[in-house]
Symmetry: C2
């Protein structure tokens, strides 16, 4: 699973997750991720772009088709997490 080399890094999953709905600019994304340091954010963004999961346009960062599919594959996680850590609409 090469995939784990990409996803198994701090913030990668989170960054992807925060883009599940709408695209965001660098600074907005940073805030959505509890103010992760710009160094790591930029690093992750690069990795995810190189992996063809994210792309960048004038409105900021967004998922590619492939990335959207990955998010769909990841969706059951939310369901699972709800039953796991409480039950309420934990995000």
């Amino acid at each position: 699973m090469v995939l784990f080399d990409v996803l198994g890094r701090r913030w990668t999953l989170r960054v992807l997750w925060e883009l599940r709905k709408d695209p965001a600019t660098f600074r907005a994304l940073r805030e959505r991720c509890d103010g992760v340091s710009p160094t790591v954010l930029n690093e992750r963004l690069h990795e995810l772009r190189d992996a063809g999961i994210l792309e960048q346009d004038e409105s900021g960062y967004r998922t590619t088709k492939s990335g959207a599919a990955l998010l769909r594959a990841l969706a059951p996680l939310q369901t699972w997490a709800n039953g796991w850590s409480g039950g309420a609409g934990t995000d």
Copy 2:
């Protein structure tokens, strides 16, 4: 998503993944994970046990019910990964 605090660490996803089929002992698990250092392995094992995802018995480490459910939620990943990084039976 508290979940990402647990899964978004090096080796966590991988360890879980390697237990998807059958349980394994500490040393066996270590080998399945490309010889990850025992320090981190033990650390992850603790975290996953504290999270109620894994448990330990005389035959080694195995997933709990909750952990098995998590793995099911994670299953679509494999499908996605196949279409992403090649198409063959990448593991």
